[in-house]
Symmetry: C2
Subunit: 698 residues, 2 copies
């Protein structure tokens, strides 16, 4: 750390009482301006080259207990430092990540009689800006309550936005693509398929918010290191194109309970004139998170899995023993899926195909009335249904070298889950489970708390820590949106926290553009358990009356294993459906889940994505492209490959007559030799994609 470099450009200005400071990114493309005006209001602005990213916007926080509005400040000190270091993630898109940034610590004291000390810490990366509020230890402030945070993001125009409604409980909306001035979050009310919605109001959106300016800037606003604080929504002032933080309240209307020394999450602004830079800027989010707290990470293994799961979504089987709980809209009783024989069938399939593990949902008692009741004592997480033989399956899976993934659906009754957690994790270790999928479907208990409030944020990190202590990997469904905490808790492999593939089985589903937006929004914060790999695309296969379908071609489902980064990837379809397309399934068997390198080659949010990744510890690459409802061609340049090497490319592409709606399962598999000099035109059907494996020829 070298302090007081030339980075401090303007220093204190000469205007009476007012003070300004500027900071540049390491590559000098980004310029941050921080300003205290005569009245002590704190403002900041950001430029990308000559273009305004953020116009002056104010910063502040209102406290309760003590009641102090931190709105006007005196500058106590400012410190500028420069950082450049490289670190190795336990798993990820890159095997080495560089953390290069310049930092400005603005040390302030509020102008009220309370004399509260607060720092604002700015870090400027080449990818964008992160800043947070810090409350150092001090006599005038120990325990306190945050009533509201007033962080502004003052955009330079009425940008195009990919947004979902600001909501305290759900992030499972499809994305809207409008000008900011046209945001109307009440469209979310139509999505009655989302079980627990708490839309804040018409003018609120969630982060990660993806924006594109008319002058060609791609801007992403989100947060990093969301710990011991509620998630942030954004209020949209449509006249001034001004976004302002709106924290998720708790049961009594407060935002956060803190004790000094305390700090907020980082507020992040990623910016570039290239869309692909935004995708790669997940590095910046990771850099704003702390290194792992775990001593041993040997138990953490990126993996693919199958699961007793999709068959409940499509209505072939049920979660509950009584046979009534299915994902699709139907009233008939069906067999209980998580029975010993059926689980063995999945274990056999996984073993035959080199799939590491089998998720089993609906194995434990409680599913008959788990949903929508706000019931507290639903599951105990250790009592199997009578047809699920824990010991027998443990032995069987062990013999087949397959792991069973535990499932802990809490139904939102988190007080109940917390009572059982230790017992449940001990049960897991006793019966050989080393990974758990958790779920939070429904209204939260403690009643009045929200999925995205501080109490639940603390619960998620508590689960991540505790599972880590037990040597257990975790995959959370229905948590708040990720903010890069997978760096600190690498056993927290993935989250759902967005609208997953499952919605296609029993609702209006996800439009073909969905998977071209998620990498620019939800995935900025961390890996998603999207559950790709659906080969039986139309639900009419299960019931002729059904009209639901996955809005995809089969080839696109393969491409998602590359375009939607996750160290935990499900092969979500039924074994019998994979048996029908063994040639296509080969890609799922082959594709890696952990990477040495990632190249975002071409992309446009809402339109398409073209990505290549080098498998970790291997010379093989995997590449994928997906498109929205438009068919398109991608001029694929393979210069990312090692010069002078020849690779056998196996190309899983849409057949020429493929179409997501009319002909989704038409695909073609081609093999050809390619080198770094090869250029190919890849044709993607409407709602289609292409997946390529690239294995060096010996």
């Amino acid at each position: 750390m070298k302090r007081y470099l030339l980075l401090l450009l303007a220093g204190l200005s000469l205007k009476a009482g007012a003070q300004s400071t500027e900071l540049q990114s390491p590559d000098n493309r980004l310029r941050l301006w921080v300003h205290l005006d005569n009245e002590g209001h704190l403002q900041y602005a950001l430029k990308f080259g000559q273009r305004d990213v953020l116009q002056p916007g104010t910063l502040g926080i209102t406290l309760k207990e003590p009641n102090v509005d931190l709105a006007t400040f005196r500058l106590v000190d400012q410190k500028v430092t420069s950082h450049d270091a490289t670190w190795t993630p336990v798993w990820g898109e890159w095997s080495r990540i560089r953390d290069q940034h310049n930092e400005l610590r603005f040390e302030l004291e509020d102008r009220s009689d309370a004399h509260i000390r607060v720092n604002v810490l700015f870090r400027l990366f080449n990818e964008g800006l992160g800043f947070r509020y810090e409350f150092p230890e001090q006599k005038n402030l120990q325990h306190f309550v945050v009533a509201a945070e007033h962080t502004q993001f003052h955009l330079s125009g009425d940008h195009n936005a990919f947004w979902i409604p600001g909501d305290y409980d759900s992030n499972e909306y499809p994305y809207n693509h409008t000008r900011l001035s046209a945001v109307d979050a009440t469209v979310g009310d139509q999505h009655t398929e989302i079980s627990t919605r708490s839309i804040i109001g018409p003018d609120f959106v969630q982060t990660p918010l993806m924006l594109k300016s008319d002058d060609g800037l791609y801007i992403n606003i989100h947060e990093a290191a969301l710990i011991n604080y509620p998630a942030m929504n954004l209020h949209v002032d449509k006249q001034q194109h001004l976004l302002q933080s709106q924290l998720v309240p708790d049961a009594v209307g407060n935002s956060a309970y803190l004790q000094t020394p305390a700090r907020t999450p980082w507020r992040t602004v990623i910016v570039s004139d290239k869309a692909t830079d935004v995708l790669a800027a997940t590095k910046m989010i990771l850099n704003l998170n702390e290194p792992p707290a775990l001593k041993s990470t040997a138990f953490i293994k990126p993996q693919k899995f199958v699961g007793v799961w999709w068959e409940m979504h499509v209505g072939k089987g049920s979660w509950d023993y009584a046979g009534g709980q299915v994902g699709s809209q139907q009233s008939s009783r069906v067999p209980h899926s998580a029975n010993t024989a059926n689980v063995k069938r999945y274990i056999d399939f996984a073993a035959r195909n080199g799939i590491k593990s089998v998720l089993v949902e609906g194995w434990n008692t409680g599913w008959e009335d788990w949903f929508g009741r706000w019931k507290e004592d639903v599951f105990d997480f250790v009592t199997p249904y009578p047809d699920f033989n824990v010991k027998e399956l443990h032995a069987y899976a062990k013999k087949k070298s397959v792991k069973i993934i535990m499932h802990h659906e809490t139904s939102g009754s988190v007080t109940n889950y917390e009572r059982w957690m230790d017992t449940a994790y001990r049960f897991m270790k006793l019966f050989g489970y080393d990974a758990v999928k958790t779920g939070y479907v429904g209204r939260i208990i403690p009643r009045g708390e929200h999925h995205d409030g501080q109490w639940m944020v603390n619960h998620y990190t508590r689960v991540a820590k505790k599972t880590g202590q037990y040597g257990i990997m975790v995959d959370m469904h229905e948590p708040t949106r990720p903010t890069g905490l997978q760096r600190t808790y690498p056993n927290w492999l993935a989250s759902e926290a967005a609208r997953g593939n499952e919605f296609n089985a029993w609702s209006v589903g996800n439009p073909p553009a969905h998977e071209t937006i998620l990498p620019f929004t939800r995935l900025i914060g961390g890996p998603m358990d999207y559950t790709p790999g659906i080969f039986e695309i139309k639900m009419s296969a299960y019931d002729p009356k059904k009209k639901e379908q996955v809005h995809t071609t089969l080839a696109k489902q393969l491409a998602l294993y590359v375009t939607m980064y996750s160290p935990l990837q499900m092969a979500a379809d039924l074994p019998e459906n994979y048996e029908k397309h063994k040639d296509a399934f080969q890609f799922i068997k082959d594709v890696a889940v952990d990477w040495d390198d990632t190249k975002y080659l071409a992309a446009e949010p809402g339109e398409f994505l073209w990505v290549a990744r080098k498998a970790k510890g291997s010379a093989s690459w995997f590449a994928g492209a997906v498109t929205n409802e438009q068919s398109r061609t991608i001029e694929a340049d393979f210069s990312f490959l090692e010069k002078g090497k020849t690779y056998l490319a196996t190309i899983y592409r849409d057949a020429d007559n493929a179409h997501w709606q009319n002909n989704p399962t038409a695909y073609t598999i081609e093999k050809r030799r390619v080198t770094a000099d090869t250029k190919l035109t890849l044709k993607l059907a409407a709602g289609g994609g292409v997946a390529i494996s690239l294995v060096p020829v010996k």
Copy 2:
């Protein structure tokens, strides 16, 4: 059970559509009238002989999810049964308890389109009435929310009442004695020494509510078997002397979440023309509770204990290691009390005096900022302060045949306690603890929940169950008021749940009448850990500047061991204070804590109490009398003793010049022989008392 006896007196009346039923108590003194009027409103009334106890009052409940106001009903069926059985409590005031009552089950269907079935079950004992709502399993109602309960107690006049403010969080108020029409619960606002107050409004009072009518009836209104439901407060309509149930709301304003089959607690009305009958009617409360759920009760041992506790209240030592946390108002730092050497001193004292156990508070980390912060992660219940050697003290106590009582102060952060409970109880078993005192000082977390709401009620029973499973006895401080659950959970030995002796150490304290009211109010529901036995009565002994004192004579402190029933009795003062009065301390050493028989010989609420109890499995008796601020004489009749036997009575009485304020420690000990024919005039000083041990002469 004999059904359809002659008990059904009036049967269905002949008025068009209206239906009336009457039921009598086994001794025919009480008469219940239940009535459905033409519109279907359900009413009930109660007579004691010819005197009205309750005039017609209506019954009903408003539901949410589904939204149905259960206010008008159709009678589906009515069943009358008669019960007479005797059972043996694990411990108590009597070794055998007779449960004799007549029961009317009024089976109703609500007149709305919801057709919800609800039963009202009335049980009429000689001591009074209990009734509850039952929601049987039915197609039209499974999971539901109780929005409000509309149970009326329509009194016959503007009775004198002993009341404390209706409050969702605290029952630690001193009692008020006024006409019902003069109730003003805002007086509770003056009691700033109560850390967490949530007074409902000026017209609300708590139960047990003790009333006396101008025509000489003693009436007590309370509830029994408070399980999975919020506690009930009472709204006072001062014009109509009509009390109506006001349930404690949860964080979102609901009252209870239930699932059929479900039932409310019993609403109880104890009535007699003798005050002593009310004291003995705790039997009725017990009879309305379920038998023990525990298989083994061998670990449950009524006992006396001393504790590292009062020295913190008087400011000699602190709970926290830093030395700042004391009960009295002082700012100076004092030594940390729960240090190994000091605890050994208490163990030695207990061992020397045949006291079974030593409570140690302040042994674990977290006390520095435990109070008033609404902080969630305060204590972990397993980490001792560095000067408290768990292993060494375990060995030392074992050698001395003394048990250490664990202390779990939660500071109201119950989510945190629930996470740690299993770990904490395993820690206890590992280090030889078999009893725990819990505490709930402060605002509850989950935030928005109240001490007396359904969520906390469920917590208390969860603690009772779980400690029972671990073979641990429990004493709860700051829970909701007891309702006889000690029958079902006999390991739940006692609760505080009222204004205890501790308030005398550092606040305006408790007036001398306090202990003459508690047996008629708080103790109706169950034993109280009142912590009697203070010999150093004036706090000026610790600090000449202090004006606080216990409002008592020393002799009265001894009498409390008999008049305030509890199977868990603290000898609350410091060992060095007992050493100064070894002759008086002899009574505390001798007095029993479990009883074969109890005789309430004379009493008047707010004035005095004269009680005799026969020690369990022994021929010895112990008797006690206490008075309010008035000195008085009691004509003591010893006819409760076994005829023909002679007893050596040791009488610990106020000296002739004793007075609670001027001369509290003046006492006289006399020995004399008494028989069943003996009559004595006992003189009680102002704020005084008398304690007598009666040992058969061989």
